[in-house]
Symmetry: C2
Subunit: 478 residues, 2 copies
């Protein structure tokens, strides 16, 4: 058997201890961005294990997994290499899972391939904080069988109703399950359109998914300004329209809508007969501030506030479970639209999640992770305040991300610079309708940012601004 | 402790042996249709077990499940009763799972509550044919952890690519996973619209979901006639347009598109630059006829045929996994539209399904169930031919449903009459665009119809037509 000795170096490195999941992801990333071409030989497990300072069994396990999944070929007596078609397959797999504004997950640098130190783009909580033992126990308890049954969704609807009542003050007689919150925006938008509403407003800057779904319904979406108290109600017209808002933690700037502003918004909607879409995407998380229930829970709001939530932010991405509680006035119209669409959630996951909630694990989880996220928020805040004192950090009372305001350099240029040094963030100007307002800077998630990394990030940020300026960037806004 | 003896009779009966899943469903149905009101006491487990001639543990298990799910209250020392809010919760849970034209699952009769003997509406395969042990083993092997990962969808994309190549002749460089096939129709329709196509044709009669999704894109959908060879290509215009078709088993009439017709359709599309949506919803099943690969697999078809498939028909509803292979000419446009939507499938289910396919279980399953479905088809055919010789049964070569042609009475009246005797079917006229053609009758799924029940159904059908006539119905078409 010809044993071909090869001197292959794979340009990757990983934080120690090297975890199997990370290594698999890094190998897939290498296939996508061309560090590994189709047909390329991989280093032997012995060599790669030495390079990464990890046990050989970690590498062997990853190779086996990728061989089983069809990305690598294991050739007995010769070695392991990248299979033909692997790149397209990985790219599509990755693309099937876009959670945000469809920016590439893998950074393509200029010539050199940058290493990703941290992906701080908002939208992804730290799934590793979920108690995996409890989750697995719920998987078993849900005992989904392949026979057609709606037991999972039925149980989830009931469990979620309880949870929303206790945790968000939402009294949901109707909960519509969808595979994503954007389906909820579409349902509410279509029902509002059916009811004769023709103007739609989205917070500026705001959430691209919401803006796109409403545009798809037919609305030519108009921006509405936000300030530190939330949506500027005074800027809304004095007639019937649709408003998309994120009162728990404005997306992306991060403000919480004040109690006074909430009352005014509800009063305005009541007076004009308008409909509000409340996207409570990370409303379960708040730090050192009094709780504010959902907007829909305010007296008199139930009739015209539609509530949308998702398991992607409270638990983890990848469950494809979200929920919509329609406003009273549109209840029939939303129900009709929902019945027309074949939008269902996966029964096995619905059953598991129902168990997880009804056993009280979700409440426990939220309480536990809120402490962890607060620590991470504190570490990021402290690091930015110390290293970048001229950059105010805002939106830190709630949610899982903050905005760092930068006033001499456009956020997009700082974002690019940070990307080249291995940190992925978003610029405020990445968000739709953002050009209508004056705050600029970068939007940073601390959900998966350890305190040690927060200091490294703040240092990279401190270096980024003068680097942009020395390259002739910046100074566009004065 | 006050023990209140109650003499409660619950108006349900079930086929023996009574199965736990059935009893749960029947109790939920009773809550929805008012046989059980909120606050009503249920019979004791002893009494209900006697009424149903089943073991008391079956009843106890069901009560416990419904108590745990929040639909019933178990009151120690007193009994079990329907919880406040249960009806709304059940109704919504059921509604979250509409798979077809949103007809009610529970029949409301005139006064009396009819008992459902068999639901023969198409669209639901027999999930109980799946090897539950193998499925559970795949659940364990997929070992999904809550950490954000696309390993499940990546593996599913690879496994599905292999499966489609071997079983349908489809060479898929790109597979886009969506929670339902209607998402695929929307993606293909939007991309076709982006490419400048403005006319869309749907088979008449045809699939409501497809018609609705294309209408939502903006097309004013036009019907195109089908005959026993499939879509009438000669009726299509001589310029660029979009055509939705179900060549493996025309939905709902059931014809397979002939080889000659396929070649003509492809030639027409090539000549006019048109785009075809091939909905291969139950293309895996065929009986006693030569295999026909997917339309997309024909020479030269890859460029302009978009392929859509779903696990809902090959395995079971409730997985919320479907796939789209875009046509070559729209590959970029579909990819762009897909990246914009947050349509993802549940990672745990994707991982499980990837295991199930890559271990060869799906291929084994399809081979096994094809035999079972053929037997059921044979039983239905034989029963109809014997009991209702004047009603031709068509579309039996493939798929999981057949059409029984009735020429003196409108199918909708026969459908209503059958419903009152406990059989749920669809009328050909229930399908959109159906008024444009002359065949009428009922569409009947045999996927879950045992040979014994097939005889009972055929007898009910034989009685239905004279009953409709004696009530003064029918004779509308002459």
């Amino acid at each position: 058997m010809a044993r071909t000795p090869r001197d292959v170096h794979l340009p990757i490195s990983l934080p120690t201890p090297v975890r199997s999941r990370r290594l698999v992801d890094e190998l897939l990333a290498a296939i996508v961005d061309g560090r590994l071409a189709e047909g390329d030989w991989l280093p032997s497990t012995r060599v790669l294990a030495r390079q990464l300072s990890c046990s050989r069994s970690v590498v062997t396990g990853c190779y086996d997994e990728l061989i089983a999944a069809g990305f690598l070929d294991g050739i007995p007596g010769a070695g392991t290499r990248v299979r033909a078609g692997a790149r397209a397959a990985v790219r599509l797999g990755a693309r099937s899972h876009v959670t945000e504004e469809s920016a590439p997950v893998v950074v393509r640098g200029e010539g050199a391939v940058p290493r990703i130190i941290g992906d701080l783009r908002p939208g992804v909580p730290d799934g590793s904080l979920i108690d995996a033992r409890r989750w697995r126990s719920c998987v078993r308890a849900a005992t989904w069988t392949p026979e057609p049954s709606t037991a999972g969704t039925t149980a989830l609807t009931a469990a979620l109703g309880e949870h929303l009542r206790r945790h968000r003050g939402v009294h949901a007689e109707e909960i519509l399950l969808t595979p994503g919150s954007s389906c909820g925006f579409a349902l509410l938008g279509e029902a509002a359109w059916d009811s004769g509403i023709r103007r739609a407003f989205v917070e500026a800057p705001g959430y691209a998914e919401a803006q796109r779904e409403l545009a798809r319904v037919g609305f030519s979406v108009e921006p509405v300004e936000v300030d530190a108290d939330g949506v500027c109600v005074g800027r809304l017209p004095d007639d019937r329209c649709l408003v998309y808002t994120t009162p728990a933690h404005q997306y992306p700037l991060g403000h919480r809508m004040s109690v006074d502003r909430r009352a005014r918004l509800v009063e305005w909607a009541r007076r004009t007969g308008s409909v509000i879409i409340e996207d409570d995407y990370d409303g379960e998380f708040r730090y050192d501030v009094p709780p504010l229930p959902a907007l829909q829970a305010l007296p008199g709001a139930r009739e015209f506030v539609g509530y949308v939530g998702t398991a992607s932010k409270t638990l983890t991405v990848g469950l494809a479970v979200a929920w919509t509680v329609p406003p009273g006035v549109l209840s029939d119209a939303v129900g009709r639209r929902y019945a027309e669409r074949a939008w269902s959630v996966a029964e096995p996951v619905a059953g598991t999640l129902a168990e997880f909630i009804s056993r009280g694990h979700l409440a426990t989880h939220l309480a536990k992770v809120a402490r962890t996220y607060r620590d991470r928020r504190n570490a990021l805040s402290a690091a930015v305040i110390e290293r970048c004192p001229e950059m105010p950090i805002i939106g830190v009372d709630a949610g899982l991300h903050a905005t760092i305001v930068i006033d001499r350099v456009p956020g997009a240029q700082v974002r690019d610079r940070l990307e080249r040094s291995g940190w992925l963030v978003r610029a405020v100007s990445d968000y739709p309708l953002a050009d209508k307002q004056s705050v600029d800077g970068v939007v940073v998630s601390y959900a998966r940012l350890t305190p040690a990394s927060a200091v490294r990030f703040a240092e990279a940020l401190r270096r980024a601004v003068p680097e942009v300026l020395s390259e002739g960037g910046g100074m566009i806004r004065t």
